[in-house]
């Protein structure tokens, strides 16, 4: 009896005991994940849902925009110009005879803009002394679409003028010939930059939200108190939480990448392994934030709310995922520097669309590393094996 006790006590502090305790917690965590439909949903259902939503539903491109075309006096010229609108994939023209009716359609949101060719359009165009007037009325309620539509109309107008000039045998009176190329995303598909960004959002969900809630659940149900009364060390508890959710997060990431590449045809131009290793780095920061939140909030509701406000929403709104950081006010721009998702989104968009651009990847990965160390360090520092 006495010898056995002695042997066991020695065992408590050895690395064998550490491994055993860690194994115990990790195994418990995996069992809980498998039995809890909500963790599975967040890890695997949510990525698929978000991908489908952003891949098919949300698009920042204006395509097939319904516009009213009002031609007061038709001629060959107006016909060829309106034909340009009909064949463009950006527009869905509706031909309306009176401006009044078109205005009503705009107000009722039946159309997003009006292209108005006055009765003297052809006459002025023929004389050539002054530019023929074309009026474009747009619905400014959706400023994004309005801006895009205005650009497209100018584009169509410019090509049409050029073609018209060529037909007439004279060179168009254009001093500058603008030839634009869009690099890395030549079709300007918004999916190409939105969908890779989802990797960051999904990993934030798993790493921060799920982890914060799972740890606070242990406080709520009184199991944390029971854990703490055993010889388990606090670093073993933390590591025991990090390992399973790291695996889950990487699983969610691989699923997202696979769907991004194979379902949405987004090119992956950079190295897959760079993607994996920077994702791992980002996941560690997310886990650090999740654990840190759970050291402060010991009930699931508050932990969940806190995780959404300080991790999930910033990953959506302040990371450059949807909204350009450069166009934010200076103060908000300054805040984005502490948002890990910002650095990761940069890496994601670069690795997917541009390739291994080290000058982008290295500084951003370094920022992620620093944040990971800060957040994991903070959670280690703020967790002690006591209840007060």
């Amino acid at each position: 009896m006495n010898n056995k006790e002695q042997g066991k006590n020695l065992n408590q502090s050895g690395s064998g005991a550490t491994a055993m305790r860690l194994r115990g917690i990790v195994r418990k965590e995996f069992l809980q994940i498998m039995r809890d439909p909500s963790s599975i949903a967040i890890a695997f259902l949510m990525p698929v849902l978000l991908l489908l939503l952003f891949g098919y539903g949300v698009s920042l491109d204006a395509e097939h925009v319904p516009v009213a075309v009002v031609v007061e006096h038709s001629s060959v010229h107006t016909a060829s110009l309106t034909a340009k609108f009909s064949t463009s994939r950006y527009f869905e023209p509706v031909f309306i005879t009176s401006l009044q009716e078109a205005k009503q359609a705009l107000i009722n949101h039946k159309v997003d803009g009006i292209i108005y060719l006055k009765s003297d359009f052809s006459r002025i165009l023929k004389t050539g002394y002054e530019p023929a007037p074309i009026q474009v009325i747009l619905n400014g309620v959706d400023s994004n679409t309005a801006r895009l539509v205005s650009g497209y109309v100018q584009g169509i107008w410019a090509t049409w003028i050029e073609e018209l000039a060529r037909e007439q045998g004279s060179r168009a009176s254009m001093p500058v010939n603008l030839q634009h190329r869009i690099w890395f995303n030549s079709q300007v598909r918004s999916q190409n930059f939105l969908v890779p960004g989802l990797v960051a959002v999904i990993m934030t969900l798993i790493g921060a939200l799920l982890t914060a809630m799972i740890v606070s659940r242990e406080w709520e149900r009184g199991t944390m108190e029971a854990l703490m009364s055993t010889p388990v060390a606090i670093r073993e508890i933390l590591l025991g939480k990090i390992i399973p959710y790291f695996v889950l997060g990487m699983g969610g990431m691989l699923l997202t990448v696979a769907l991004t590449v194979w379902l949405f045809d987004v090119p992956l131009r950079g190295s897959f392994w760079i993607l994996v290793s920077t994702s791992a780095l980002f996941l560690l920061t997310a886990l650090g934030m999740g654990l840190f939140i759970s050291t402060i909030a010991r009930n699931q509701f508050i932990a969940g709310q806190a995780a959404i406000i300080v991790t999930f929403l910033p990953a959506f709104l302040l990371s450059g995922f949807i909204f350009d950081i450069e166009s934010m006010p200076a103060l908000v721009q300054a805040i984005t520097h502490i948002i890990a998702a910002r650095y990761f989104i940069m890496i994601l968009q670069t690795v997917f669309l541009a390739g291994n651009v080290w000058s982008v990847i290295i500084p951003n990965a370094f920022a992620l590393l620093v944040l990971a160390i800060i957040f994991l360090g903070l959670s280690r520092f703020k967790s002690y094996k006591r209840l007060d």
Partner: protein
């Protein structure tokens, strides 16, 4: 090993330990100068009213809370210098057992075996031993969340025993657990102490459990009032304890006695009333007592509960002896049956929570529904309140069929739930206003009822206090007055005294008695068997059925017939009836 020498040694000692909590601007002293010594191989219990500091003391002993002052020594090692040592030699079961409900029984065991560093080759034998001891062999693959309260408690205990701890700390291990499971737990603990010389410290609200221990520590407001073996608490009470019978009904007798001069405590116990007199008084010399018709007074020896009450009485400067007088105007109904339950069943999926239950409650009766957790008490209750429809059968409350006019029936019923359902952040007055408006009281009527509550339940002194911070006794009274706002003729009480200490329970029953005397019908669920004695009639519920119904005496007699020996305590009767039922 020399056994006597071992027993002299100390397992755990506290020396002038202080612990305070800071909540906002208030500092709350949780432990004040706590000093005690627990002998190796003994069982000690911590008792005291709610909020006395029992849980804090256990957490401090485990190193989970750090005291501001004082020294704690565990097996001759100061715990401040070796926090990890504490966790290798102690086993701790917190209040909710610390189990993972989404893991199975054996997965919980595996986890705690890993955490406590039990070697893999020792496990099969250890598991087998513990499962046999706790009778859980056939449930190893069941999820812990699907176990009954008693089984959970035993599994929690098994998990803490995996590494054979030298000191076992249990925080209210038997709260919310039925008497059969309580007995099993005690036999496990006694065996541990006998066979392995484990030292045990447990907190409990059951004073009969404390009486079984070698040593009792009585805490009140963070201070130790007294400590020592159980009989040391009753030393000054010789010749002050009496058992009284009379021609009066026992509830009426208890009330008469409680209000008499020189009486410290009067409780119903079986068919008689147990009386504790103040120092220097004798029941035969108090006129009010002596005049009671057919009175018979027998002197008996004191028990721990008498000492506990006497000590807290001295501490608090006298218990409030007078029951509140109610003048609730009970609407005259046809005298007789107020609640009629006729062969009701309630099914959830393919599981019958209540199967074929029938009983009747008469006007002005206190009717008890007694049973273990999961016996179907709460389901029955919800059906009676009209919150849950019955699957089969019929039931009527105040002559109104609940299937056709649930709202009408509900208007005649007052309901008080386990957790009081008060709004803790509102003041007493705001709670009263809110509940009166819920019951559609307006204008003068509303003001009258609120005034009634303030006067009769003595809430006026605290009317502006935030109800969450009130002492438990006030909370109970407030909850009761909220349930009585609309002057119901029937009062439903769902485990009103669960987790409440003996003092608060006594006070509560005083009010219930007064209510019943003014004609209100009271239906109460409980798993405190002593409380069953306060009921006029009661029904024992087991697995959704009622195997016994009647007055407490009839129930004990029925159980006595089964056991073929006279049964005096309700607990004994309950255990016998449950065993009989599970045999069928």
């Amino acid at each position: 090993m020399n056994e006597t020498a071992a027993f002299q040694k100390s397992a755990l000692s506290f020396n002038a330990v202080c612990k305070t909590f800071v909540e906002g601007k208030r500092t709350i002293p949780a432990l004040v100068n706590v000093t005690f010594n627990i002998r190796l191989g003994s069982i000690s219990s911590l008792v005291g009213p709610d909020g006395a500091g029992k849980t804090t003391l256990i957490r401090v002993a485990l190193g989970l809370l750090r005291p501001e002052q004082g020294d704690i020594t565990l097996f001759d090692t100061p715990i401040a210098s070796a926090p990890s040592y504490v966790q290798t030699v102690t086993g701790y079961m917190p209040q909710r057992f610390g189990l993972y409900e989404d893991l199975t029984v054996s997965e919980n065991l595996d986890l705690y075996a890993d955490l406590q560093g039990v070697a893999s080759d020792e496990r099969p034998e250890r598991y087998h031993e513990l499962m046999k001891m706790t009778n859980l062999q056939n449930f190893t693959s069941r999820l812990a969340g699907r176990l009954s309260g008693g089984m959970k408690q035993k599994l929690g205990l098994a998990c803490t025993l995996l590494s054979s701890p030298k000191l076992l700390l249990l925080d209210e291990p038997t709260v919310g657990v039925d008497p059969v499971s309580r007995r099993e737990l005690w036999s496990i603990v006694s065996r541990l102490v006998e066979e392995k010389h484990t030292t045990v410290l447990l907190s409990t609200a059951y004073l009969d459990e404390a009486e079984r221990c070698d040593n009792i520590i009585l805490l009140n407001e963070g201070r130790i009032l007294d400590q020592g073996p159980p009989d040391s608490f009753t030393r000054g009470l010789q010749h002050r304890i009496f058992e009284i019978t009379s021609d009066l009904n026992k509830r009426r007798l208890q009330q008469e006695l409680q209000s008499a001069e020189g009486v410290l405590d009067a409780v119903i116990q079986g068919d008689l009333v147990r009386l504790v007199m103040r120092e220097g008084y004798e029941p035969k010399k108090v006129k009010k007592i002596y005049d009671i018709h057919g009175i018979q007074i027998d002197s008996v020896s004191p028990r721990f509960e008498d000492g506990y009450i006497a000590m807290l009485d001295a501490e608090k400067g006298g218990l409030d002896a007078q029951g509140v007088e109610f003048d609730t105007a009970v609407k005259e109904t046809k005298d007789g049956i107020v609640i009629a339950v006729d062969h009701i069943k309630r099914r959830f999926g393919d599981f019958y929570a209540v199967k074929d239950v029938s009983f009747q409650v008469f006007r002005g009766e206190v009717f008890g529904l007694l049973g273990a957790n999961g016996a179907g008490k709460t389901t029955t209750f919800r059906m009676l309140c009209g919150m849950l429809p019955v699957s089969e059968g019929s039931l009527s409350v105040s002559g109104v069929d609940l299937r056709t006019a649930a709202a009408e029936a509900r208007a005649r019923v007052g309901y008080m739930s386990q957790k009081f359902s008060l709004y803790g952040s509102l003041s007493v007055m705001q709670n009263l206003r809110f509940f009166s408006s819920v019951y559609d009281l307006t204008g003068r009527r509303r003001e009258e009822r609120i005034q009634w509550a303030l006067d009769q339940l003595e809430l006026a002194p605290v009317k502006d206090a935030s109800s969450g911070e009130l002492p438990l006794g006030y909370k109970q009274r407030l909850a009761l007055s909220c349930a009585l706002m609309h002057e119901p003729d029937i009062l439903f009480l769902d485990e009103p005294t669960s987790g409440v200490d003996p003092l608060a329970r006594r006070e509560f029953w005083k009010h219930i008695n007064a209510l019943s005397n003014s004609g209100v019908t009271v239906l109460v669920t409980t798993h405190f068997l002593e409380e069953a004695e306060y009921c006029d009639r009661l029904a024992i519920m087991v697995d959704g059925e009622i195997p016994a119904i009647g007055t407490p005496l009839e129930i004990r007699t029925q159980a006595g017939t089964i056991a073929r020996e006279p049964i005096v305590s309700m607990e004994e009767a309950f255990v016998t009836l449950i065993r009989e039922q599970s045999k069928n």
